[in-house]
């Protein structure tokens, strides 16, 4: 398997932390109330293992996926369990008349949350790489984790074998929500990132 040294993982985790900080600022502005975001851990693993990490058996969840474009390509998936997704909708307050996961405006608000989280990470990464990358329009799935996580992670990623998983904690409206952010870089982007991190590390 492709090796990532603990040094490289530390740097990726640090990039993730910068992204989380930026995401928290942007989400606070979007939702009109304070939001905090931290990354308890970061893991790099083969796709199958990543699928297992994000899937929660017999649970329904919400996933927002975005594609990455520019000098870094690949895709990202942000997942929440259903209760957390509903809690986020509640935090929008009067801005969202319907706090319902089947409501178009509510789904659009959650897609924007995913867009911001993915975009913050991509910005932190591209600043580190001194490259330019951005997100393509998001899509949202609301289904059993088993039914969408692996499909989303694998589809359109034929040249991707690995995933970087950021465990995230989102503090919104007096609650701590657990969520996962998976980053599936395309093969050449993955190599570019690893080269930038230093092949040997240390």
């Amino acid at each position: 398997m492709q090796q990532v040294s603990s040094f490289q993982l530390d740097v990726l985790n640090e990039i993730g932390n910068i992204g989380a900080g930026n995401a928290a600022t942007a989400l606070s502005l979007l939702m009109g109330s304070p939001v905090d975001m931290t990354l308890p851990w970061t893991k790099f693993c083969p796709l199958e293992e990543g699928c297992a990490l994000l899937s929660r058996p017999d649970e329904v969840g919400v996933g927002v996926q975005v594609g990455l474009d520019g000098s870094v390509t690949g895709r990202m998936l942000l997942t929440f369990d259903e209760a957390s997704a509903l809690h986020i909708l509640l935090a929008f307050g009067d801005m969202l008349p319907e706090k319902d996961l089947d409501n178009e405006m509510a789904r659009s608000a959650l897609m924007e949350v995913g867009n911001i989280v993915a975009g913050s990470f991509v910005t932190a990464l591209s600043e580190f790489l001194k490259a330019s990358a951005w997100c393509s329009p998001p899509t949202l799935v609301h289904d059993y984790f088993d039914a969408f996580v692996c499909t989303v992670m694998v589809s359109g990623c034929q040249d991707t074998d690995y995933v970087l998983v950021f465990k995230t904690e989102l503090q919104v409206g007096g609650k701590v929500l657990h969520s996962d952010l998976a980053f599936m870089p395309a093969e050449d982007s993955f190599r570019m990132i690893m080269n930038a991190l230093g092949a040997t590390g240390g």
């Binding site: 520019g70 659009s108 330019s132 329009p137």
Partner: protein, 120 residues
């Protein structure tokens, strides 16, 4: 009567937020479009005083739409709505004739300031 504004963004939630901010500030949102192609049609139909234009959209992106709208009406006033990491695209849009840009998520004061300035 308030100046007529066309709000363009693929995200329904962002269109709603922006329309809300603009309406409260005394502007009249005369139309909304979810991609660049629809924006061009609505621009020709509604002839707004100003357009707020998202960059990343399906079908046709905001930069292409700016170019097309400027071709149709060189005097068109357009403010770009960009997300993080899109500085390069903002520059391209400005070169194509956009007057200014605002960054998402929106800060109400900055939105009103940019739109007011672009209209003057």
């Amino acid at each position: 009567m308030g100046k007529k504004i066309l709000v363009v963004d693929d995200a329904a939630f962002m269109r709603m937020m922006l329309s809300d901010h603009l309406t409260k500030a005394g502007f009249e949102v005369v139309g909304q479009a979810e991609n660049g192609a629809v924006a061009i049609i609505k621009y020709k139909e509604l002839r707004p005083d100003m357009v707020t234009m998202d960059i990343t959209m399906p079908e046709m992106d905001g930069i292409q739409a700016v170019k097309e709208i400027k071709k149709f009406d060189p005097a068109a006033r357009i403010v770009m709505c960009s997300a993080m990491g899109q500085q390069q695209m903002v520059m391209e849009a400005i070169q194509a004739g956009a007057r200014d840009f605002i960054v998402k998520p929106f800060d109400v004061t900055r939105v009103v300031q940019a739109v007011t300035k672009a209209l003057s």
